[in-house]
Amino acid sequence: MALAKRVIPCLDCDKGRVVKGVKFVDIRDAGDPVEVSKRYCEEGADEITFLDITASHEDRETTVDTVRAIAGEVFIPLTVGGGIRSLNDIRTMLNAGADKVAINTAAVLNPVFVKQAADRFGSQCIVVAVDAKQVNQEGEEEKRWEIFTHGGRRSTGKDAIEWVSKMVENGAGEILLTSMDRDGTKNGFDLALKRRVSRSVKVPIIASGGVGSLEHLAEGILVGEADAVLAASIFHFGEFTIGQAKAHMSAQGIEVRT
């Protein structure tokens, strides 16, 4: 009897459709978010993460409607991220039926925002999303990672390990840790980063970025020491089901919910 490691499919959504690009280009349509969420839920997903990558402000209404529609049919935890910039944005998403929000750029611009959000809504619903890249110069021995914004394009100069600790101090209840240099590559997680971060804070870590096989998911838990693994494209295009992912993880000795 133990807590299960979680498998979380991620829906990147643009104007009400699930999309997935490789390194944010070549965006492919992967279906209607409500239908996709229901399918994942039936397959045994432990949570759903919905990331809104819609650029324009007017399309935000579509996002709220989509979140409301998913929450009316899927009764597992739902995290919504993308464009969460104010307490009002959080309130809107929670009212639409989200259980947690993922804050990314707004946390970098104003770290106190995370504290205000946790104080107002409780740490349990505040996920801080961290986009990290390895930034070692040639000859440097110890690995270093920094956090980036704007889909991995803009450097912040902040050390990823220090940043995560600060976010947890400010009240983050969970960390969604994406390796931007792996995202969409299918080469597997940056396991050294996941393990460093997981050991440095007491809150759960969701590993993200780079999953191309079921073995990568298992490694994220066993080597990366993550508490949950998140993937998008391997599930979207029918390569693997959530059930197959869990069966593989279970065979590696990982406790999963079946």
């Binding site: 009897m1 133990a2 807590l3 299960a4 490691k5 979680r6 839920c41 432990d46 929450a71 009316g72 049919e73 009764f75 597992i76 935890p77 929670l94 009212n95 639409a96 039926g97 989200a98 259980d99 104080d119 809504f121 409780g122 740490s123 349990q124 619903c125 209840g173 969970e174 007491k202 809150v203 759960p204 508490d227 949950a228 919910r257």
Partner: protein, 218 residues
């Protein structure tokens, strides 16, 4: 018509609970009306009451007292089935260690304790706090709300504090996270759960369905 009142005291997300109840009620084929309310009259007119809660206990208790929800809860408990969820369950106890000690409603004997920092498993490995995710619940007594739910089913938890009951006869279910902790308490027409049935997929819906048809007896 089955009227369900979800008590609103401004703390966190009540929409998940309301939506899950509506969905479950619709599947039962009976008309179910869910109201999210802090109004005493609405609550007294309902058939059953849900007492949810998320966030910090100090803020929850402050709002409960400011809105006089404490009287409403006591009234509801004296007359109809009540399901308390997460911090709602913790608020029923005598006292919580959270926020340097907070006096709670005192309707069930026992305290709310922190997991400890660091929290270690029996092998000395650090466990993450909050206890977040799907854990198994061992049913420690039979109860109408356990109907059609297999023993050791998994439910979704997210909490950093846990309930320590004084009267072990009230414990209806336990889960293990470093230690065996109270997952459910039941006392007459009160059923209280640390996990979130509204987020626990089929097993959660089964529990909510059982609550919608429960007459409040053990």
């Amino acid at each position: 018509m089955n009227k369900v009142a979800v008590i609103d005291y401004g703390m966190g997300n009540l929409h998940s609970v309301a939506k899950a109840i509506e969905y479950t009620g619709a599947k039962l084929g009976e008309r179910t009306e869910v109201v999210i309310t802090s109004d005493a009259q609405h609550i007294s007119q309902s058939d059953r009451v849900i007492f949810p809660g998320v966030g910090a206990i100090r803020d929850c208790m402050a709002e409960i007292r400011r809105l006089r929800i404490d009287r409403i809860i006591k009234q509801a408990i004296s007359e109809k089935p009540v399901l308390a969820i997460c911090v709602g369950m913790q608020a029923l106890m005598l006292q919580s260690e959270e926020n340097d000690g907070v006096k709670c409603l005192g309707l069930i004997k026992g305290r709310v304790k922190h997991f400890g920092d660091p929290l270690l498993d029996p092998h000395g490995k650090v466990l993450k706090v909050p206890h977040m995710g799907w854990n198994q619940v061992r049913q420690t007594k039979s109860h109408p709300l356990w109907q059609n739910i297999p023993d050791d089913s998994r439910f979704y938890f997210v909490h950093s504090y846990y309930v320590e009951a004084e009267d072990l006869d009230q414990v209806a279910g336990v889960t293990n996270y470093s230690l065996d902790l109270v997952a459910c308490l039941s006392e007459e027409n009160i059923f209280a759960v640390q996990f979130h049935p509204e987020k626990s997929q089929e097993m959660g819906q089964t529990l909510l369905r059982n609550f919608l048809t429960w007459d409040g007896s053990q």
